[in-house]
């Protein structure tokens, strides 16, 4: 057996022995997802056990170095582990913005001390992070942001407001873009980390069209942030932010090599067989869905071997989010009047309708589809103009 085949067999055996049966069923909703953090309440003993076992093995962040809480797996090994988890139906032991976004940025820009401290906390699911980027007047034009940190020698005093902060009301810490030089647009922003319990930080959930409130407004009123809680250099936070956005977009496309290929059509056969035009739409969607999964697999293989264009994740973000919106439109059409039900038990509390509405944000958050197309056009296709 080759080394990779040996690894596959070992990973499989480990998963079979350590992943509790309850954690091999699909998560029913967000409440089944383990986000970790100081205030997280485990939904079951199995969920807690699964996290603890993965933490001990480094499998919450398998491709991170062992020194920072990972398992030190190669890209190929990580892909194999994900494939084996998908085959057994294992749930993700830990979801977190720390894993997807902050960790990779720390790995590239953080000090050794920051990597050991913050990445270790993330890997163990101890601290739940949120992201402070957008502001009321700075959406797609993010770099116009105004939240200001006044230099007070050994610390900054931060004042301002962020918006669309995912789960800010549940997060323990925030990674936040703060203007530290008002005279320089791009090179006047710093990337700061601070505790959401720091005096002067407050949050207010925003109720969305789905009826849920995954986002908050976040206010900073004379918040003191020590100087050592900066990632990268002072006034060079935009570099960190851009790198991290790239990772966010990559994550959206990298939902696992074998993930997502199963058609939702089979379960809807009774309806589709009576609705030929809808069935045709579903068929064309399946073509696009299989295409996107193959595209994502190819992109990840190229990304990990350094062959992908640095701006390619913008393309994947555009394609993936538009596809997800299409999927939910079809789910609603196939579901008919039952999918319109908003609260009933029959509709699982209106889950189809709420998910459908939630996906409308996919092509807005993390860079709108229009901004993605601008970036692809200018950076990859090298189209001329401003």
């Amino acid at each position: 057996m080759s080394d990779l085949e040996t690894f596959r067999a070992e990973a499989r055996a480990w998963l079979e022995e350590n992943c509790p049966a309850e954690m091999r069923t699909p998560a029913k909703g967000d409440e089944d997802v383990c986000w970790g953090g100081r205030n997280f309440v485990f939904q079951s003993e199995a969920q807690k056990l699964w996290l603890e076992r993965c933490v001990a093995k480094g499998y919450t962040v398998p491709d991170w170095p062992k020194a920072y809480g990972g398992a030190g797996l190669s890209p190929q090994e990580t892909k194999i582990l994900r494939q084996e988890m998908a085959k057994l139906g294992c749930r993700s032991p830990l979801n977190s913005f720390g894993i997807w976004m902050l960790g990779p940025a720390l790995l590239k820009f953080g000090t050794e001390e920051q990597k050991v401290h913050y990445m270790g906390q993330i890997a163990r699911g101890e601290i739940r992070w949120c992201q402070g980027y957008s502001e009321p007047g700075s959406g797609s034009d993010l770099v116009s942001m105004q939240t200001f940190g006044e230099d007070k020698g050994d610390h900054w005093v931060v004042n301002g407001q962020k918006i669309w902060t995912s789960y800010a009301d549940k997060a323990d810490w925030i990674f936040c873009l703060v203007r530290t030089d008002k005279t320089n647009k791009y090179q006047g922003i710093s990337f700061l980390l601070f505790d959401m319990e720091t005096p002067g930080v407050s949050t207010k959930p925003i109720k969305l069209i789905s009826g849920n409130s995954p986002f908050c407004e976040t206010f900073f009123d004379n918040v003191v942030v020590p100087k050592h809680q900066i990632v990268g250099e002072v006034n060079r936070g935009w570099d960190v932010a851009k790198y991290l956005l790239g990772h966010e977009r990559e994550m959206i496309s990298g939902m696992g090599g074998d993930g997502g290929v199963t058609s939702i059509g089979a379960a809807m056969k009774a309806t589709l067989s009576q609705e030929p035009v809808l069935r045709a739409q579903m068929a064309l969607f399946d073509v696009d869905n299989l295409t996107f999964r193959a595209h994502g697999e190819r992109f990840m293989d190229e990304w990990k071997t350094g062959k992908a264009h640095p701006a390619y994740s913008n393309l994947m973000k555009y394609v993936g989010t538009e596809l997800n919106k299409k999927r939910n439109e079809l789910v609603m059409s196939i579901g008919g009047s039952q999918a319109l039900e908003w609260e009933s038990e029959r509709s699982n509390g209106g889950s189809k309708a709420r998910n459908w509405l939630r996906t409308k944000a996919n092509s807005i958050e993390g860079g709108t589809s229009e901004v993605m197309l601008n970036v692809v056009s200018k950076r990859i296709l090298e189209m001329p103009g401003a």
């Binding site: 059509g265 069935r279 068929a283 399946d286 071997t305 555009y318 394609v319 197309l373």
Partner: protein, 378 residues
């Protein structure tokens, strides 16, 4: 398998790219089109394909070929597509070879050497109506003497009238609509009772309407098993489909690159038109569609090469997606070129014609999307 080309495959791509660019650029295609060539391709170029080894890319090494897979055949096809190089490669070296690989040794020995030498051309005689419906084959092969007698008609037999042999699918049992009871035959071009009418297509290829009027064949003309032809036919069709998809990735990429270049040079309103966001967004969207098509085609090829159970599903998806993306590329190409896109002098229109033909070949995007739905259980 990683979804990236390995070193050998990259080398083959460079070879194919250089070869097509120097020996068969679009000017080559125009030359043969303008002379009203009866074959629609150059026998000289077909010989050159053989000299560089392309014609035997899928022929097993034991039979004197390169013994490679669909990924490698697709690499050659992409460059054929990008240059609109006219050749019998897709029908002869891909579809026919995949069928003949399942034939007995005598049959392989009869046809492989000619293909390897770039001397033999083989036509695929499947279609009986204007749309691809292989399970509806009604052409009859009744037992006669020590063999069979074929009666029926075929159409859209690309390069049929230039072929040395036709692979004909006929019914030895069962009724139209059934996959059981089909048999594949190798029919020599000189067989008594075989007649052809060559017709020029929109892309200047030449296809044949074929009449089989009691064509008498010996039993050794059978490819594969009598009544069990569906297995061979499926293999042949899937190779042809994934091959056509790869060629469409080339056609679409060629059209797209040409169009992007035009956007960067054409000036209106005192600006290069590529500065206009209305065009930039469409260009970026098209790029995404073509990248998706390239990915699903590579996935389908690698699953076929692995003999994976899901290969059929992915081939259908790949043929559908490549067809839709390539079609978008040529439509956007002509539109973004504006008036000159409508002229015969500019190449973009030639890509539009080729796309149309390849989309139709072995089932269009809608046919294959329907198959994806069926295979996905609805």
């Amino acid at each position: 398998m990683a979804m990236t080309l390995n070193d050998d495959q990259n080398m083959l791509r460079d070879t194919a790219r250089d070869f097509m660019a120097s020996e068969a650029p679009v000017t080559h295609f125009r030359k043969f089109r303008d002379m009203g060539c009866k074959d629609g391709f150059s026998h000289g170029l077909w010989k050159q394909f053989a000299e560089i080894g392309f014609t035997g890319v899928l022929i097993p090494e034991a039979d004197g070929g390169m013994g490679m897979g669909q990924i490698e055949a697709g690499i050659v096809l992409e460059e054929i597509g990008r240059n609109l190089a006219p050749s019998p490669f897709l029908t002869t070296s891909v579809a026919a070879v995949e069928a003949l690989k399942l034939a007995d040794k005598a049959m392989r020995d009869r046809w492989f050497p000619g293909i390897l030498a770039g001397e033999t051309v083989i036509g695929i005689a499947i279609e009986e109506g204007v749309k691809h419906r292989p399970e509806q084959i009604a052409c009859v092969a009744e037992r006669s003497g020590n063999g069979f007698k074929l009666t029926g008609q075929k159409q859209f037999v690309v390069q049929g009238a230039s072929s040395d042999m036709l692979i004909v699918a006929a019914r030895t049992a069962g009724a139209a609509g059934e996959t059981d009871g089909l048999t594949l035959f190798a029919v020599d071009k000189d067989a008594a009772g075989l007649s052809m009418e060559a017709v020029r297509l929109v892309d200047s290829a030449v296809a044949a309407h074929v009449k089989l009027d009691g064509v008498q064949l010996d039993a050794d003309a059978v490819i594969g098993e009598v009544d069990g032809g569906w297995a061979v036919l499926s293999k042949m069709l899937d190779a042809g489909r994934v091959g056509a998809a790869a060629e469409m990735v080339g056609v679409g990429s060629g059209a797209m690159d040409m169009t992007f270049e035009y956007l960067k040079t054409r000036k209106q309103f005192d600006r290069v038109i590529g500065e206009f966001q209305a065009l930039q967004h469409r260009a970026a969207h098209l790029y995404g569609e073509m990248e998706g098509a390239r990915s699903i085609v590579l996935k389908a090829q690698s699953l076929m090469d692995e003999g994976h159970a899901k290969a059929e599903l992915y081939v259908a998806a790949a043929k559908a997606k490549a067809g839709l993306a390539c079609n978008l590329a040529v439509r956007e190409g002509v539109q973004m070129h504006g008036g000159i896109g409508m002229t015969d002098e500019y190449d973009i229109g030639l890509y539009m014609k080729r796309d149309r033909s390849l989309n139709e070949f072995f089932g269009d995007a809608y046919y294959h999307a329907d198959r994806v739905a069926t295979m996905n259980g609805y």
